[in-house]
């Protein structure tokens, strides 16, 4: 399987990438390629131009500043998993990255690609939603910040405009106050369902993977916990208001059941 023909440009800077996106209607950015190239091989995507941002090493970093952690969009899953700063200041990101795909995937895939691809079965978007992360986008007229709650707009759709590049993701330094658990049936499979739980500003945030067209906050669980419900009672609310898919890995009913079980495990991991 070979992608259909396209033109290729290697971007030397983020601004050059933005310029190329602005000049071409049917252009796409290429980061690690581990979501885009599989789609292109199947010809589900056939952009006329690929703008390769994979060499923008200035967008690969993990820095701490003012109680938050700034992560460059081109930081690979492998580098997230191996980051001492993250292990100490926001461990749930490193732990989640370590469980993505397999080593070969983690050597190529980036956090920015994972977020922008906006696949509801992906792990990091759910964790970033629970963390109330901020996404920084750069376009022709400068930078803007987008709250995670506004970023994931639909199945494989994000709030980024066609001529914007995601440059940075900012997360709060919550130390070890976060957990992500997922369930899959075979090694290397995507999550059938996943649940992130984090303590932030005195509240418990819970978010779900693969329970709808986007990563979702488990509002029922969060409200029950805020009202003083115990872990078991709150977890039972996990699938409230969700519309999980049915596929070969599980029916919608099975996923709803799994969401409650995994929410309970994630909350227990948070307390443990």
């Amino acid at each position: 399987m070979i992608p259909s023909q396209f033109d290729y440009e290697l971007a030397g800077t983020a601004d050059e990438a933005v310029g190329l996106l602005s000049q071409h209607d049917d252009a796409k950015l290429l980061a690690g390629g581990h979501s885009l190239l599989p789609l292109m091989r199947l010809r589900f995507a056939s952009p006329a131009l690929l703008v390769d941002i994979g060499r923008l090493s200035e967008l690969s970093y993990i820095k701490e500043a003012d109680g938050s952690i700034a992560i460059g969009a081109l930081t690979r899953h492998h580098d997230l998993a191996g980051s001492d700063v993250l292990r100490e200041r926001c461990a749930v990101i490193a732990e989640t990255a370590e469980g993505i795909g397999d080593p070969q995937v983690r050597h190529r895939g980036t956090i920015g690609g994972s977020v922008t691809h906006s696949d509801p079965a992906s792990d990091l978007p759910t964790v970033l939603l629970a963390l109330e992360a901020e996404m920084v986008a750069r376009g022709p007229s400068g930078e803007r910040a987008i709250a995670a709650a506004d970023f994931f707009t639909g199945f494989l759709e994000s709030a980024l405009r066609d001529n914007e590049i995601l440059t940075e993701i900012r997360v709060p330094a919550i130390g070890s106050a976060g957990a992500y658990v997922k369930f899959n049936r075979r090694a290397q499979d995507w999550a059938t369902v996943g649940v992130a739980a984090v303590r932030l500003n005195g509240a418990t945030n819970v978010a779900l993977t693969n329970m709808g067209a986007t990563p979702l906050r488990a509002a029922g669980v969060e409200e029950a916990l805020a009202a003083g419900a115990d872990t078991a009672a709150a977890s039972a609310q996990a699938a409230n208001g969700t519309s999980p898919p049915s596929d070969t890995n599980g029916s919608a009913e099975y996923r709803a059941h799994l969401a409650s079980i995994l929410t309970k495990r994630a909350l227990e991991a948070l307390d443990g």
Binding site: M1, I2, P3, S4, Q5, F6, D7, Y8, L10, L30, G33, H34, L37, P38, M40, R41, L50, D52, G54, H78, G101, D102, P103, Q104, V105, H107, R108, A187, Q188
Partner: protein
């Protein structure tokens, strides 16, 4: 078409490729290095694993143009002066292969794993080889081979 240059198994190589050509086909068809196999073409099986700047990648999921200017190691580049690489030797001694189709990918995935973690536990070996599938061996002897290579 564009010309790309890579250091492949220590030697400079060039190829004129279309941007859509995947690294595995550049290696096999332009450079004649057919030791790297294509098992699935869908990023699942790991048969196409090579080292890109020393790290394992699935070469069916990397464009040739993305490898321009980089260092690639394939199975053909592991032996030194007629002596098998310790991981190859361990696969041989511990019978870590049957049909051998998955083997180049497993060997390179194992080399990358041991670079990152020189003395992995059995569980770490199994997890570290998660991206590679074998239809013959049941994995048992592959894990043994990697354990032996780690302690050699």
């Amino acid at each position: 078409m564009r010309r790309i240059g890579m250091t492949v198994n220590g030697s400079p190589r060039t190829a004129d490729v279309e941007p859509r050509e995947l690294l595995v086909y550049v290696l096999r068809e332009h450079l004649g290095l057919t030791g790297t196999n294509v098992g699935c073409d869908t990023s699942s099986c790991g048969a196409c694993t090579v080292l890109l700047n020393g790290e394992s990648v699935k070469s069916c999921t990397v464009l040739g143009v993305q490898a321009d200017g980089q260092e690639i190691t394939t199975i053909e580049g592991l032996a030194r002066n007629g002596e098998l690489h310790p991981v190859q030797q361990a696969f041989h001694e511990h019978h870590g292969l049957q049909c051998g189709y998955c083997t180049p990918g497993f060997v390179l995935a194992a080399v990358s794993l041991l670079n990152e973690n020189p003395s992995p536990s059995e569980a770490e070996i199994r997890e570290g080889l998660e991206g590679n599938l074998c239809r013959c061996t049941g994995y048992h002897n592959i894990v043994k081979a990697v354990q032996a290579a780690a302690s050699s």
